[in-house]
């Protein structure tokens, strides 16, 4: 497509042309109407004048006969102006008047008739006029009328004005349209160039925002926000694949080594069995890591809304605490639970449960220290949010590590020796994000406090209480 063709095809140009046509029709209609109205008014005026003249002259005739009438007409003929008079006798001879006998003579009606006339002494030069014939007793005919050359001049002026204005309208409209189309096209071209570069793989490119705050800017801003989100998701994906490369190959290697050792090594049956059991155990833990990674990815990509339901967060908290109480007891620790009731949340009860399991599990793994170790689990309303917190009295996490520890596969130095995948906190954080909430890691002075802050749903008694029963 040529550059000009592209310009003509723009929406802005097409719109300009459409408006131009509409405006032209509108202007034409207005001017035509004005012209018609002006003519009407002028014609009316002439009619009134002619009527008045006829009344006056026929009075003169009634008072003083032909003589007085002829005098009166004579006086009027001499006066300047566009009035026309012609008094003839029954034979058609002119008695007095300022026009020649017109070729077309209005018949004896009381209507004004539009016709042409010649001035006396200027034969061959016709002028337009409105004339009316008045028959007097005695066979005299009186033609009275008015020159309407002025009307035609006025009509011509209006017509010319219409033509000129339409011409300028078209000119300005076409150029304005082209100018606007060009400006639009320029910005859209810049945008599509950016989009092409982004498609080609440059994810850092963004659409230009002019700062005018118009609809194109809004569009560009939204596209940029969308690109930002896509970048985030892609970064997440890349992180996952990197993690898979780094952290899944290690256990896979271990798995392979074990199988190989069993194949080539000692050959007693019980040793083989033992090796196979170890292989199964290793693959099971790999599957768990896979599941966790998939779940995090799914939660971060967003969850289909038909699987989200309203449930009581406090019921989930109590469930999990009840589930872990004997485990804690076995480790010589205590789980304290404190929940407000009816803390309705919209989301996935299962995922929240899993996130909480991860937090409690972490606390039991790393936060049990000193005499009488206690882990406090709480759920409460905090403004518009519901805060679910697991707080321990263990060694805690130093401030500089707190952000890092949420990342996938991140395991702090002192925890590396213990079993775990390093996915627990990142999964909890993903679950929080899925619920449009956040995960905070805080100092419990001493110890660690991990809080899930989720937006509260206004409680409706039905589904929430059902969720509690289910639990």
């Amino acid at each position: 497509m040529t550059a000009l063709g592209k310009l003509f095809r723009t929406t802005a140009f097409k719109l300009s042309i459409a408006y131009l046509v509409l405006f032209s029709i509108g202007a034409g209609m207005v001017l035509t109407r004005v012209g018609a109205r002006v003519k009407e008014v002028l014609d009316e005026q002439i009619e009134q004048t002619v009527d008045a003249e006829i009344r006056a002259l026929s009075e003169q005739y009634a008072q003083g006969g032909l003589r007085q009438l002829a005098n009166a007409v004579e006086r009027r003929v001499r006066a300047p102006g566009g009035s026309l008079y012609l008094l003839t006798n029954h034979a058609g001879e002119v008695i007095v008047g300022n026009i020649e006998q017109p070729k077309f003579t209005p018949s004896g009606s009381s209507e004004l008739v539009e016709t042409t006339y010649e001035r006396r002494g200027e034969p061959g030069e016709t002028h337009p006029a409105l004339l009316r014939l008045f028959l007097l007793p005695g066979g005299f005919r009186l033609l009275i009328g008015h020159d309407i050359q002025d009307h035609q001049v006025l009509r011509d002026i209006l017509r010319r004005a219409l033509g000129v204005s339409l011409f300028w309208l078209a000119l300005v409209g076409a150029f304005g349209g082209l100018f606007m189309a060009h400006r639009m096209l320029e910005r859209v071209d810049v945008m599509s160039d950016s989009a092409r570069r982004i498609m080609a793989g440059d994810m850092h490119e963004r659409l230009a925002v002019s700062g005018a705050g118009d609809e194109l800017d809004r569009l560009a801003e939204n596209f940029n926000a969308m690109l930002e989100r896509i970048s985030e998701l892609m970064a997440g994906l890349r992180e996952v694949s990197d993690n898979i490369a780094h952290d899944l190959k290690t256990p896979l290697t271990r798995l392979r080594n074990r199988a190989e050792a069993a194949l080539h090594g000692s050959s007693s049956d019980s040793e083989h069995r033992e090796a196979l059991a170890a292989v199964i155990e290793e693959s099971d833990s790999l599957i768990r890591v896979f599941d966790a990674l998939l779940m995090i990815a799914r939660a971060e990509a967003g969850y289909s809304s038909d699987n989200l339901a309203m449930f009581d967060a406090d019921a989930v908290v109590r469930d999990i605490v009840e589930m872990y109480e004997p485990v804690a007891e076995e480790q010589g620790a205590r789980l304290d639970v404190e929940t407000q009731s009816g803390l309705a949340v919209t989301g996935s009860r299962e995922l929240l449960g899993q996130a909480l399991v991860n937090l409690v599990d972490n606390a039991l793994k790393y936060g049990v220290a000193g005499e009488n170790p206690t882990i406090a689990v709480s759920a409460r309303r905090l403004g518009e949010n519901i805060e679910i917190a697991v707080a321990d009295r263990g060694p805690g996490i130093s401030p500089q590590d707190r952000e890092r520890v949420v990342g996938r596969f991140v395991r702090l130095e002192n925890s590396r020796s213990r079993p775990g995948s390093g996915l627990g906190l990142s999964m909890a954080a993903a679950v929080a994000r899925l619920h449009h909430g956040a995960l905070r890691i805080e100092d419990n002075a001493p110890g660690l406090r991990v809080a899930l802050s989720l937006p509260a749903t206004r409680a409706m008694p039905g589904p929430a209480s059902r969720a509690t029963e289910r639990a």
Binding site: I280, S283, D284, I287, R288, D291, L294, M295, R298, Y303, S304, N307, D319, E322, M323, Y324, P326, V327, E330, S348, E350, L351, G353, Q354, V357, D361, R470, A471
Partner: protein, 227 residues
């Protein structure tokens, strides 16, 4: 027990057929959705094992078509899609249980047996269970051992109730988590074991013939071993 396995991976289905036959069950298989549907609709099976992604007709449509035809054979869905929402979709389509791949055969076996049993016992839920001298009354929520009442926490009661409902069958840890706690994630630590050992201390204390058995590599079973 007659089991129909509808699974397009031949190696997996051959393995399952062999493993179920070793357990004394009759196992047959089909490799695509349409053939599986035809066979499931006409044959008399106790349990269907349906892979979710099948050629010609996917597992979920297969099950929902069967249900529309009035075939109520219990169906267990096997799927690589193991997230919570996948599971919900599977059960909504008419599946009776859902097991994500990869799975342990012991887990699958326990679930298949529970499904088949559920069908037999569908005549009406019993209100009173008895295993040896252990009795549980579901109406009065009372548990007695040798006539002596044992006080159980609500969760312990439900745990025992589920075990006794499936007396003589292996019940896996995930089955317990699903049916007693109503959560479907993987119990990573020994949570269930600790609950079981608490329950055991209440009903099997100082007894020679234990009722609550640990089945190595699979789960638990309640059974009167004295008989």
């Amino acid at each position: 027990m007659r089991i129909l396995i509808i699974e397009d991976d031949r190696e997996a289905s051959d393995y399952l057929v062999k493993a179920f036959r070793q357990q004394g069950h009759v196992a047959e298989h089909e490799h695509d959705g349409l053939a599986g549907y035809a066979r499931a609709a006409e044959g008399e099976y106790d349990v269907l094992l349906v892979d979710r992604m099948l050629p010609k007709m996917d597992g979920l449509s297969l099950i929902s078509s069967l249900r529309e035809q009035g075939v109520e054979t219990p169906a267990l869905i096997l799927s690589a899609l193991g997230q919570v929402d996948d599971r919900v979709k599977g059960l909504r389509a008419g599946g009776d249980d859902y097991l994500p791949k990869p799975y342990a055969f012991s887990e699958l076996l326990a679930r298949v047996e529970a499904l088949a049993r559920r069908r037999v016992g569908a005549k009406g839920e019993e209100t009173h269970y008895r295993v040896g001298d252990l009795e549980l009354d579901r109406l009065s929520h009372k548990v007695t051992v040798g006539g002596q009442e044992v006080v159980l926490q609500p969760r312990e009661f439900r745990l025992l109730e589920y075990l006794m409902k499936h007396a003589g069958q292996v019940v896996t840890r995930t089955m317990l988590l699903e049916n007693v706690w109503d959560y479907h994630f993987d119990p990573q630590t020994n949570v269930i074991d600790v609950h079981i050992s608490r329950l055991r201390s209440k009903i099997d204390k100082g007894r020679e013939n234990q009722l609550l058995h640990t089945v190595r590599g699979a789960g638990y079973m309640i059974r009167d071993s004295a008989r």
